[in-house]
């Protein structure tokens, strides 16, 4: 009998757990450890943030789903790994602290035969003084944050309706952030809501980003064919900004935030300040800050995890300049180099380097996006690692049997630009592969056939359809595994 422990119940971890339970026979255990009681379809938090949805429409309780599926759910936070065992105990284990009310603060050591670290991002608001809901800015990273943001947005609308001018700043709150796509989405949803209410001319909407050019999205931008030309996501995105009158402050790092004012630095070393009435700025991410110990009890955290807190896996972490980055640098199996039973997926694995060209300001500040690990790649990693572990347990495979490199898979991203069944629009984009491969696709790094983008109402319908589909899938409803990641 084997025990597989999955840390984290987000898109990646929950997908892995469901597939493991489906593929493993009943003699094997699947345990999920997650500090939150609910699953969140994060892409729809954007709509919660403008008041179009409530938190209950984008979340559901995990416990009943896991009971139904025969998955052992521990509502707890993982704090330390013992991948080599501990003293006389040879079996690997993980230390957890319970977060559920009935057992809050209790600790437990859970032994495992295989462990998948899918802990996702730690929202590092602390990286920028004054950033975050406990500071002076808003967030849509969680459903709860998004509801607070919706309340603040409703207050902005009230003031606009009374004739006041409002300045809304939306974007990223640190030079190393990722998730520029989510910031873009929220920006244009806000703009759309103001325009639908006839209030647009009383508001300045400003997009603040660490991207060198609009349309970078942390993936170095894209090229696609349109009307007989190869165009860039930069021109495509700038076109939307011009059309909607959204201003942009790019190449920027937020240094600190005070009440109603943020201070920033740009790549050319200039410093400035920006006053706002409403600011939604995403935080940079860290790993979950797990510790790791060897069998003697000595700390080995820096061997197992990168300084960012993300888990080192089968990637090429050799430091090298941008011109020497290769598609093969990216992991394929997500197995750690030293421990044959420890995997890291989704946002939890340490990327070898960014995808966008790294840049540093004249003052030495890093101002360039971290690489995104969006829903589709994260879900696919979960499924493929689950398949590998199932083969290792039931077929005696000694190495992972399935791969999911971001340099060998594509992603579909639907960025809402305004909700509404008849008036909404979204930018529906595909890219293949996610990580550019300039050997397979000389010139552009990606397939021009499979890298596309278009804006329209159809995209909005697709985003809504994906909302319904993936919540259906995550609830483990009949046929859930037929919905592709």
């Amino acid at each position: 009998m084997a025990r597989v422990v999955v840390l984290g119940a987000g898109i990646s971890g929950h997908t892995a757990a469901l597939h493991l339970r489906r593929m493993l026979d009943a003699t094997h255990e699947v345990v999920v450890v997650s500090p939150k009681a609910d699953w969140n379809w994060i892409p729809s938090n954007i709509w919660v943030g403008v008041g179009r949805m409530t938190a209950s429409q984008v979340t559901f309780p995990l416990a009943p789903v896991y009971v139904k599926k025969g998955i052992d759910f521990r509502q707890a936070k993982a704090v330390a790994l013992h991948p080599e065992g501990d003293g006389d105990q040879r079996r690997s284990s993980v230390d957890v602290v319970y977060t559920m009310a009935a057992r809050e603060g209790e600790t437990e050591r859970i032994e495992y035969d295989y462990l998948i670290n899918a802990t996702g991002p730690k929202l590092n608001f602390a990286a920028t003084p004054g950033l975050g809901p406990d500071g002076h800015t808003l967030s849509v990273c969680t459903a709860e944050h998004a509801e607070l943001t919706a309340d603040a947005f409703a207050e902005v609308i009230r003031k606009l309706e009374q004739g006041e001018h409002q300045t809304l700043v939306i974007g990223v709150g640190h030079g190393t952030c990722t998730c520029e796509g989510a910031a873009f989405e929220y920006t244009f949803n806000v703009e759309h809501e103001l325009r639908m209410r006839g209030l647009r001319d009383r508001a300045d909407v400003i997009y603040l980003t660490n991207e060198y050019e609009l349309g970078d999205f942390g993936v170095g931008g894209m090229s696609f064919k349109q009307n007989g030309f190869v165009t860039t996501s930069q021109l495509w995105t700038e076109s939307l900004f011009k059309e909607r009158g959204v201003k942009a402050l790019s190449r920027a790092h937020v240094q600190r935030v005070e009440e109603g004012r943020l201070h920033y630095e740009t790549l050319d070393g200039e410093e400035g300040a920006l006053d706002f009435d409403f600011a939604m700025l995403l935080p940079p991410f860290r790993g979950a800050d797990l510790l790791a110990f060897d069998r003697k009890g000595d700390e080995i955290t820096s061997d197992v995890f990168a300084p960012s807190g993300f888990l080192k896996v089968d990637a090429n972490y050799t430091a090298k300049p941008f011109e020497e980055w290769r598609a093969e640098d990216w992991p394929r199996t997500y197995l750690t180099p030293k421990y044959p039973n420890l995997f890291g997926i989704g946002i939890a694995f340490a990327p070898p380097h960014p995808i966008s060209r790294p840049r540093t300001s004249a003052k030495g500040t890093v101002i360039s996006p971290a690489p995104p690990r969006t829903g589709m790649p994260s879900g696919l990693m979960g499924r493929q690692v689950a398949r590998s572990i199932a083969d290792m347990i039931q077929k005696g495979a000694t190495t992972p049997t399935h791969t999911a490199s971001m340099a060998e898979m594509g992603a579909a991203c639907v960025a809402s630009a305004g909700a509404g069944f008849r008036k909404g629009t979204a930018a529906a984009m595909t890219m293949f592969p996610v990580v550019p491969d300039y050997v397979k696709f000389p010139g552009y790094g990606r397939s021009l056939t499979d890298t596309t983008g278009e804006i329209g109402l159809a995209g909005h319908w697709i985003k809504h359809m994906l909302h319904l589909m993936f919540i259906y899938k995550a609830k483990g409803r009949p046929g859930w595994f037929l919905v592709p990641e």
């Binding site: 006041e164 009383r202 201003k247």
Partner: protein
């Protein structure tokens, strides 16, 4: 409310900083193309968008299947 002029937000009592208080430029000078009014209308044209819904879904499905091999 007709005839009402928007009032600027009240100046906040924040400390003076050496950095200039700035507002980012808009993108009017960008060389990016603007959509024509026809293009903007077609984005929410129901019959066309029903067709695009099908095409984009097929496109995404093709890319998903390619990634799942």
């Amino acid at each position: 409310m007709s005839g009402t002029q928007p009032t600027p937000s009240a100046k906040r009592d924040v400390p003076e900083t050496p950095a200039a208080v700035a507002t980012p430029d808009n993108l009017e000078s960008s060389t990016a193309p603007m959509p024509t009014p026809h293009t903007v209308r077609m984005r929410t044209n129901l019959p066309l968008q029903v067709v695009r819904f099908g095409i984009v879904n097929l496109r995404m499905l093709r890319m998903v299947l390619k990634s799942h091999k």
